[in-house]
Symmetry: D2
Subunit: 144 residues, 4 copies
Amino acid sequence: MRATFDAPTDPNAYRFCHQVRVRFAETDAMGVVHHAAYLPYLESARVEYLRSVGHPYVELRRSGIELPVVEVVTRYLQPLVFDDLVDVHVVVAGVRAATVELGYCLAVDGAPKATAVTVHAVVTGGSGRPVRSPRWLHELATGS
Amino acid sequence: MRATFDAPTDPNAYRFCHQVRVRFAETDAMGVVHHAAYLPYLESARVEYLRSVGHPYVELRRSGIELPVVEVVTRYLQPLVFDDLVDVHVVVAGVRAATVELGYCLAVDGAPKATAVTVHAVVTGGSGRPVRSPRWLHELATGS
Amino acid sequence: MRATFDAPTDPNAYRFCHQVRVRFAETDAMGVVHHAAYLPYLESARVEYLRSVGHPYVELRRSGIELPVVEVVTRYLQPLVFDDLVDVHVVVAGVRAATVELGYCLAVDGAPKATAVTVHAVVTGGSGRPVRSPRWLHELATGS
Amino acid sequence: MRATFDAPTDPNAYRFCHQVRVRFAETDAMGVVHHAAYLPYLESARVEYLRSVGHPYVELRRSGIELPVVEVVTRYLQPLVFDDLVDVHVVVAGVRAATVELGYCLAVDGAPKATAVTVHAVVTGGSGRPVRSPRWLHELATGS
């Protein structure tokens, strides 16, 4: 499974937004946010998005479903710095039999700083066996 | 600039290998290494590769050149777990006017666990202005 | 300089509270938040506290003052888990010539999960030379 | 349980040494290693020490024992910087009925940079119930 979505830099192309404040611990000796620190931002936004549509990730896990990341693509456009308030915009870009693809745009005061795509397998928590993507995930993607 | 390299899962396709031991701090509640923790592994391997060819990253920085990451693509094939000894294979996949692209394969006991590509801008440390990729970087890519 | 404050487990003994949501990236293979992940929680609470009293950390840094951590004591009472909403309570426990000591209690739904103390040097940003603690820091400690 | 050990700054006072290379990801915008990044260094040294005495942590976990951290005290003496080769010296400072206390000194080229103490509960992996510290742990402490 490969990411196919081309995440737009226009925040208006997204469905949901979660705001994170850059921590000092996330900066590096170049004076900007380290590139690895963006991935937990995406994760937080994903978790809040699922909560907002009535499917908290903890309940998903309790129901026996995990959504492990199988691919990440991140494009760094402009650096983030300490104390930035980052709007992490999210959209469900596509849902297939046993995978789901999400797109992200990170922006500060409306200016895009990075885009990203994550692809997730839909699997059982115990054995990690693929399962069919739940119907509500499909509905998030089609926007119905 | 977009990643164009398709990182092979065959460790023999790479030029250099750096070994990292998975830390407990890098695992998550799924019992495996968190997907964000792979990026510092790539970074460590990159740093050791540059050291091995006589261009330690600290000297590069002192000489006024930085190689900030502008794109990362990571494909997670099989989970890494606590205490795994991970071989991080690296190759310089391509060098352009002011960017360089590296490919990676992470393997444990010869079995591929993930592949990755990072694209870096070549810039001055102070102003972040693009500069021409140094000749020795081109030579790493061509293998001469 | 050694921590002298005994951080109470009673949230009411603190002056300020900042809430953080536990990220999945902060958990480990024991299924709980990794002990190192608490330190950025303390840092975030410290930063928000300084902002709330009119002294944002970015302005402090711009004015040439840094508050590097010289000692941390953390006591882990009960585990934090993914998705917990953690109340990080903060108090300025003491200010000396060129150091400041803060106390913290981390609680979920009123139940204490950890306490901590951080000791900071007050130094110039450039040379790292000790400087006198600013008057407003003293006032936070005395509560005047 | 409170830390009682006063970790010496003399590397010769320790039993075991594990070397870690500072990663760029571990630095912060002050240009030094972020204070939270020291805790995984201690953890790595602890894991390698247990391996060296024939009790790899993965086997300990498989045998049903966990050693969760219940207290950490870290004293930061001099900053660590990117690419430093850090000698993490370790000693088992004390073993009680159901807890164990370790001391650490971090040094670069023989110069002490930080000291630390960690206190661990000895518990069953499943229920987290306290269990008696194994005899070999006692022997590490007494040095017999």
